[in-house]
Symmetry: C2
Subunit: 247 residues, 2 copies
DNA sequence: CATCTCACTTGATCTGGGTCAAGGATTTTT
DNA sequence: AAAAATCCTTGACCCAGATCAAGTGAGATG
């Protein structure tokens, strides 16, 4: 149950996540400096990557697999505060410790940079700091969108919101535009969905069954989802602001 | 009901919010450049400062007064996603439009910088970009802490959480350390609290009454709050992580 | 001084989602 | 192939918080 630390380190331009990673706009000499501090790290499903409060000596991006950011109260109530899908960034440059538990939900491969040298590089390279700010603003928007979901939506709307976010992210990763019907696999257990949505796993299960009965989604097995009509799903989510992805 | 635009523009070093403002670590020539693009703007209680989606041509900080960031669904359900107290920063450098409605809850004075030149200054001054990143990370932490409140806390815990956050902020502004008992004025109506907490105003009212009956807080009028024991309040909030302010 | 309005309180009732409990379907272990 | 462990579903019941409704109290307005 320990992390396999692999030092594959292909050249940064081969990095499978370069389209969103900080290195996307780097010059050759910056690439070389990034190369020196870069390493890959893989974790098994269920492993905790970082514990809240632990010192975090790296930043990085998810290459493949899924992880979650969660907060837990003393009595065990837990709330997921972030979902890390491939290309998402993890880490808080300038901060010592981790603020949340980071848990691998599936087997996961991360592309990491040692934190200290990364910060040095960042302070010397304006566009990296810029890119970080942009990504942090994106995360802030996502967190605030989720506050509306948690605070004001019904259980059914919450499920529909989650499905439509996952579908959207999945489509943008596979470049699968607005093709209908939309097909994807749920990367989360019912319990993890419940933790994201502020519900119980029973309610999640019931609402998924209800959406299925009403023909909003179709299920094969427990995880494989087909959405015959994304517009319908987003209506169910109470969401007109579709972000233009499926316009 | 239009905004009074005053161009008081005292020198930046006189800025009442310089301790948290972006200019805190600026050199003299940067201060002068900031001075050129700086202006003050005041709004009356109830005024909407920016509408979600509107083009936003400034960034800035709250000097005095309170504003809120809110999101609204088509059917009128609203969720507050941020509370802007004095010294808080507003604006999304690098983004065109506003993502949320910004509403003045009390009369408010803002210290603004024109956006385009501010962005230029930012791209030429690493430590400003740095400071912005830090502030955005703070906001992200606050948003995620609030996700736990919205998703997993009971009505009573939500109220206690809000009171303890306001008390904390108030104390750090007035430099009023850990002095017990803690006294402050609620800057929000019951309805605004409800919008922040994902509750109805009736529930907010009932829970405040309950906390009062149980001696957790004491009320004079409807807004003036005395907290005889901050530790007790934070227990009620289900919150051990007190941020060390009242350790 | 009477009336309005706005912010709040309190009561009565209803209901969405939580809780508790009993399975079912797959996969993993032995 | 039996046993155990996961993950999921469904039913029955309950309760925290929503909804509906009727006030109260303190400023503002005429």
């Amino acid at each position: 149950m320990t992390a396999t630390i692999q030092t594959i380190s292909p050249s940064c331009s081969d990095c499978p996540i370069r389209h969103r990673a900080v290195c996307a706009r780097c010059e050759m000499d910056e690439l070389e400096r990034l190369e020196e501090i870069k390493y890959y790290r893989s974790f098994e499903a269920g492993q905790t990557i970082i514990w809240s409060g632990d010192k975090m000596d790296f930043v990085g991006s998810v290459v493949s697999g899924i992880a979650t950011l969660t907060q837990t109260m003393e009595d065990g109530r837990t709330q997921m505060v972030g979902l890390l899908l491939p290309s998402d960034f993890v880490g808080r440059p300038g901060r010592e410790g981790a603020a949340y538990d980071v848990v691998a939900t599936t087997d996961i491969l991360m592309c990491c940079f040692r934190k200290k040298p990364f910060e040095k590089l960042m302070s010397e390279t304006p566009h990296i700091a810029h890119r970080l700010l942009e990504m942090t603003l994106d995360e802030l928007d996502a967190a605030r969108e989720w506050m509306l979901v948690l605070g004001r939506k019904t259980a059914r709307e919450k499920i529909a919101s989650l499905l439509s976010i996952i579908a959207r992210r999945d489509a943008s990763l596979t470049g699968d535009g607005g093709v209908r019907p939309m097909v994807f696999d749920l990367p989360l257990t019912r319990e993890a969905m419940a933790d994201y949505l502020g519900l119980t796993l029973e309610t999640v299960s019931r609402q998924i069954s209800a959406l299925k009965k009403d023909g909003v989604i179709h299920l094969e097995g427990k995880r494989h989802v087909t959405v015959p009509d994304m517009g319908r799903l987003m209506e169910e989510a109470g969401d007109d602001s579709d972000g233009g992805v499926f316009a």
